[in-house]
Each structure stands twice: as C-alpha cells, then as structure tokens.
Amino acid sequence: MNAHALELLFPQLLIVAIFWFIPVYRRERAFFGVPVSAQFYAEAGRQILRRYRFRLIATYLGLFLLEFALWRWRKTPVAVVAVAPFASMIFYALAYRAVAPHWQKTDRRSVASSLAPRRLSDYTHIAIELFVLVVTLLPVLAVFFYYEQMPERIPIHWNLFSQTDRWVTKCVGAVALGPALGFWVQTLALLMKNDLVKSKMPLPASATEEFLRGKQRQLLITLHMFDWMRVFVGVLLFCAAMLPLASAVASLPPLQRTIGVLLPISGLLLLFGLVFFGARWFFLQRRMDARFGRSRIEREDESQHWYGGLIYFNPRDPAFVVEKLEGLGYTINFARGRAWLYLLLIAVLPGLLIWAGAS
C-alpha cells in the first residue's frame, strides 16, 4: 500500500468511526441528537440505525474501491474518497429526519442563567498566547529574510516516509502559503475561542448550581482542549511552513532534522490531547446524564430550528454558539450575522490555495 493511500486511510477511518458512533453514544437521550423514548430507540430506531450504517459503510467501501481502481488505471492518486464525509452528513440528515418526529419534548416552564460573567480574559494564559504568536510569526519573518537565498526549485510536499514527492518553481505563493495558513488558522482559532467562552449555557430550574458547576467544567475542558490544539497545530504548521525553507536554504540553521523530530512528536501530542480531553468530556457528560437525566437544556421550540440535526438556524435565539444536539461539542447559530464572518474567513482558505497555485 503506498504512502498516499495510508495518508487518506487514517483520517477516513476516523471519520467513519465518528459517524458510526455519534448517533448512539448517548442512546435514547440523543439518538441522532434527538431525545426519544426507550421503546422507540429499541424498536423503530434500530431499523433507522441499521439503514444509516449500511449506507455509510457501502459508500465508504465503494469510494475506496473506486479510488483504488482509478489509481491503478491512471497511476496518479485521485482523492475520490474525500467526498465521503459529505455523503455521511447527508445520510445523517436523512436519519435525523426520520427520528425527529419522535422528539420527546420536556415539560419545562422555567430556565435559569448564571450571573457569573464569562470573559475571554478569564480563560487566557499569556504563556500559551505568546508561544502561539511566536510559532505563527517566525515563518513569516523567515520567508521575508530568506526568500532570495532559496534555489529555483523547492520541495513542497513530503509523504509519510519523509520522502519529497513534489517540487515547484520558486514563487511567493509556494513559499508564503505555509506561513499564511498558520496565520489564518490561529486567527480563526482565536475568534472561535472568544465565541466559545460566550457560548449559550441555559440551566434547569432545579439543582441549578450543581448543573452549572458541571457545565462550567465542560466549558473548561473544551477550552483547554482548544488551547492544546492551538499550540500543537501551531507547531505542526510552523514545521510545514519552515520545511521548504530549511530544505532549500543552506545558510539557515540546521532545522530539517529538528523539524523531522518535532513533526511526529507534535502530531502524537495533538492526538493525545484530543483523546485525553475528549475522554474527560465524555465521562463528565455521562455523569451529568446519570445525575440529571440530561446534560443539555433545550427550549420547547428548538426542534424546529435544527436542519438535518447538524445545522442550527434560529433567528429568535440571540445566542451565537450553542451546544450540538448530540451533546458532543458546539456549533453556530447560522441566523446570527456573525456567521457570515466565519463563512468569509473559511472562504479565505480556498482563496489562499488559488492564489498560491496561480502565482
């Protein structure tokens, strides 16, 4: 199996696993994000789940086989399997549509809100911010100082076995893409962190303080995971941005070997953090589900504003960041104007890639 196939296989397996388990990890409390009765979950729900999982596996296997056949025929990789996550989202939305009519509404009249202000400064660690700033800006400065010293052909892609498999003619786009990507990622991440701190946190009218403590701990775990990701994604992008420079410029300090060590370590630490904080979140949510019967408070009309169980569009909800239906993470209220800022920032990525390609 070649390096390209390995590069694609792991993330796709991860995506399949996520779509496989997400609908049922909280059982009837959030079956495709919908609270349903135990009877529905055990009977009609099982048929919906079987149909959904069959479509998931059939699509992935079919796309993998197609990609393998195309690679054997054309001798170049064609990332057909990259469309599989989008197909998975469509299957999830179809299953949600079948489950949503069985939404068990809670008879809830009252809702509570904490009076403790939630500010970004309360969740900011100067050391982390300085480190992220340094790893983001250093490649920008390095490109600025060493661009002229680079040869006319520069390496820009390495496979899993550290072999260079792609070169390009030196140009600003090819060299500056890495640093620009790092800058873009950290800008988006900081904006997301600010909005996460201010995410919607409705509380029940009973056992309010205890529930609030649980939600505050959930938020803290999320923000710690976010900072962990910012640090190690920052290091990975630093390595990716510096590698072409380090490979091509003789006068640079011997970075290549350092980057060769830093890359896999950062990748592993990033993965470790995701698993560690993800597990903490998971077990805290299980405890809250067991203690309160739920870990997420919803309004009575909320079911009308979830589309496919994935997209939240509610013009009457002033909150911008809300908990996902299945309780795993957060999403945005696309009815708020701020959503356009995110869509614009996300659109910058293809713009950067097109600019790099064109130059």
């Binding site: 009249r109 809100s113 904490s114 009076l115 202000p117 939630r118 201010k198 409705p202 309010t208 909150a319």
Partner: protein
C-alpha cells in the same frame, strides 16, 4: 449564583429578571462592585431578546441598583434603591396581603407566610 425565569408566568420576563437580581442583592449574594454578565450573555442563556434583558438592566440602573457599562455588562451599585419611597412600595405588598386573605388564609397564617418569605429573602434563599 443564578437567576430563574418562568416562561409561562404573567409577569413580564424583564421584570422577572429585575426581581431576581434584586432578590440576590437583598440576600447579600450580589454585594456592591460585583460584575454582572453582559446583556448578550444573559439573553443567550435564557433564550430571550436582547432588549428584554437591556430593559431589566435599565430599570435597575434607574432604581440606583446597577451601573450599566455598555459592552461589558453591569456592576452592582448598592443595596438601596433610591427611586421609590416606602409609601409607594406598600401598595404591591397591600395587594399581595389582600389576595392571601381572600384566598382564605387566616391572619396568623398570613403573618407566618410574610415572616417566612422575609427570612428567605434576607438569607438569599428561593
């Protein structure tokens, strides 16, 4: 420390929010100089319009209980509301007492209820 609203109550939401904050001030849970969340945070958590929370904050500011800082929430000013006199405040109490007696509660029971509620208010209980 939290506030609770009843979505099906006849009391307007902004008034419920204001009453809850007053209760916490009286009970000592919100001492002077305590920072309160922004209008956006409370509105988002409760799922109500921004203006509803803004109205509550504005009313409390007019009563001298809060200082509103635009964009960064509000700060508790003090425990004494300087807007209305004792005579003006007796009217709603008179109404509530009349309703209790019309509901058939004897005088001693009404006194007991009043003492109980006052104790809870001062202790910060609900």
């Amino acid at each position: 420390m939290h506030i609770t609203i009843d979505e099906e109550s006849r009391v307007p939401i902004y008034q419920q929010i204001a009453n809850e904050i007053k209760r916490l001030i009286v009970g000592g849970e919100l001492p002077p100089e305590t920072a309160l969340p922004t209008v956006r945070q409370i509105a988002g958590d409760l799922g109500v319009n921004f203006n509803t929370v803004a109205t509550a904050y504005r009313d409390l500011q007019e009563e001298g209980l809060l200082t509103v800082r635009h964009g960064s929430g509000a700060v508790v000013r003090g425990r004494q509301s300087d807007r209305r006199g004792a005579e003006e405040l007796r009217a709603p109490l008179r109404t509530a007492l009349a309703q209790l007696m019309l509901a058939g509660h004897p005088r001693t029971a009404v006194l007991h209820i009043v003492r109980e509620e006052l104790t809870k208010l001062v202790k910060g209980e609900k």
